[in-house]
Symmetry: C2
Amino acid sequence: MIVGGGFAGLGAARTLRSAPVNVTLVDRRNYHLFQPLLYQVATGSLSPGEVAAPLRGVLGRQRNTRVLLGQMVDLDPKSKRVLLADGASLEYDSLIIAVGSQTSYFGHDAWKEWAPGLKSVEEAEAIRHKILYAFEVAERIADPIERKAWLTFVIVGGGPTGVELAGAIGEIARQTLKHDFRSIHSEDAQIVLIDGLPRVLTSFSEDLAQKARRSLERLGVEILTGTMVTDVDRNGLTVQDGARTVRIAAHTVIWAGGVTMPPVARTIATRTQAPTDKAGRIRVNADLTIPGYSDIYVVGDLASLNGADGRPLAGVAQVAMQQGAYAAKAIGRKARGDERPLPPFAYFDKGTMAVIGRGQAVADVFGLHVSGLPAWLVWALIHILYLVQFESRLIVFIKWAIQALTFNRSARLITGAAATDFAFTKALNDAAVPDIRPTAEARR
Amino acid sequence: MIVGGGFAGLGAARTLRSAPVNVTLVDRRNYHLFQPLLYQVATGSLSPGEVAAPLRGVLGRQRNTRVLLGQMVDLDPKSKRVLLADGASLEYDSLIIAVGSQTSYFGHDAWKEWAPGLKSVEEAEAIRHKILYAFEVAERIADPIERKAWLTFVIVGGGPTGVELAGAIGEIARQTLKHDFRSIHSEDAQIVLIDGLPRVLTSFSEDLAQKARRSLERLGVEILTGTMVTDVDRNGLTVQDGARTVRIAAHTVIWAGGVTMPPVARTIATRTQAPTDKAGRIRVNADLTIPGYSDIYVVGDLASLNGADGRPLAGVAQVAMQQGAYAAKAIGRKARGDERPLPPFAYFDKGTMAVIGRGQAVADVFGLHVSGLPAWLVWALIHILYLVQFESRLIVFIKWAIQALTFNRSARLITGAAATDFAFTKALNDAAVPDIRPTAEARR
């Protein structure tokens, strides 16, 4: 049994394709989500259908595998059973736990209401709604101070996701929406990227992080490093820069700040008495099993394991895929009656990359530092190759090509609650909207 | 001022492109929705971004035009002002009202909860969720009666939308999901199309309606004509066929039943003392103005006007586009100082068509009756040509080509509340889910 259909879980299921085992994959969602491109859904470049692949579609023809929609809530390692939220109890012979991580607000879960994270399709659509909506309100509002707050976009977290979001919003403001408004200049939008550490992209080398910083600044992104967020509310956020407390008025705050483990992680640790690290991840053996349970593997973001350099492996897709495949290989070997254990899991790091904007990226590929257009091309190629469905590869390729030529983002829809929604009406009423004469006020 | 960015409103705005006027287009949404393909979003073939075009993107470079996000709630024809929900009051010189229609439950609005209509992106996603979810629950449920209720799909309304939905669900069950499940045969799904009239597609000729009926039946769709719906609830619906009352147990009911006018229509009629027809539509003059108000045009679904044959014009895209363009032309002419009135609006009917499945459609093009593959090709070509954005045309073309070859529907995502959602858990708890052994139970 595999719990979770992310990079780790799906990787494990596919690796077991021709093993002499029956595979059950359980996920809360009916699709595998290609997280690295989710920010493009949040910024209107791609549709959810292009970054998500229906699990049944991917695994439908894999005869030894069944997919179940369900959420794991408990584990009984003695009777070898997993309990789902709907009350079903599933027996396993071997278990691969790949439930992933969730957004961490560092103990301030109330901030979530004002600063959505970017982990799910729903959150990506909520962020897209927020970004586009802010420009709509700004266009309608007369008060310059309120207008500025609507045109201020703050991204908390300077890792790859934060950098990619900030760069994409910069492009939206400077290029995509350039001709779209009559009362505002979309280019006037202020985009702020905040991180508590002394620089952005700490997982990259100093020189690449510097290059990323310069690319972001060219797109109009202001970078505040060494800055801690101390409060987030409806009207903006408060940050601490050393001894200085600064208030930023902003109606669009996006949280790309950190990860924590889902509630079921604690249950699993309790039931198996597994050791956990500070982030709540389960410390696994070198073969990715839980100490004392050779039949339970923990892979992906939930697994805590040090790499060859003695530093903990990061919660990234590459690690998850390799761990999922490793656990599957170990199980397949046992099922074939081969009792020799696999050598310990060893992570093979192919590199790391982050995209900033059109033709702008930084990449560390096999130790080679690349930036600018070459890095962007490598990034685009690798991300298209790793998409699960052939159709998505083709569509994403075409959409990127069109966007590179035109800056158009065709999926910039405000769905969900629209103009009639409270926030909009409230914002406008508060601001005493002036009567509008039917003049185009074309400024260009 | 133009209120509404549908076929009528957008058509009017584009026609005024080079007229010596300032245009303000107000819409509740930030996008134009290509309604005729919305059923493909509901059935997982296309993503919302492909059937919706951001209004600002379409009109951004049209210098005399501005777009405002807002909802019209009132009209003062004396001071020539439109009031928006957010309190703003907008003055106009000439007004084009193109607010469209909404789903009618014939006085039973409570049915909406169990039988969503297909008018908005949100509703299309809700229907997609319902359809895919039903198969997921059926796969998990043991009780054969409950399982059958989850595998029964009822579409109310035998017009083009109902026929298209029924055909698409037939294809999903027979082709797309064929290999996807282990405990159920997706082909066992029962698809029922219900209409109160004696046949489906009453706007088509007898022979084409017959052909459509046969194509639907080949896809496994049961057609109940002359059948009235008398109740809809959580567990299914009750229908009346002559003196016979039949209960259909079904957890997926879709409403493609009829249209009514939005609340603002009554307000407009009151303020202008305009006559309305039985459906609440405003009876307009031959030049599409409201009697007594030569500066207010009503176009699209909200306009009630008879065609050359003395029968009321239908609420379809073609009529809306031509009416929007007519009103815009009349306004442009006045603005240029040309006082000669336009000849009365005359609808030019290019034909009507409905698609049933892959390579299956019926079409009446300039009086020529076509069916099967030729009709499908005409349908596909015309719908691609009428899509507003170049990018959508290309992407939709590719997606259809891939789907025609593979039956794959890449956008079959269950978004919104997923496995943890109440209905699912409740359905499974009620049905006393059996414990599941990790066997694939592959039946093929």
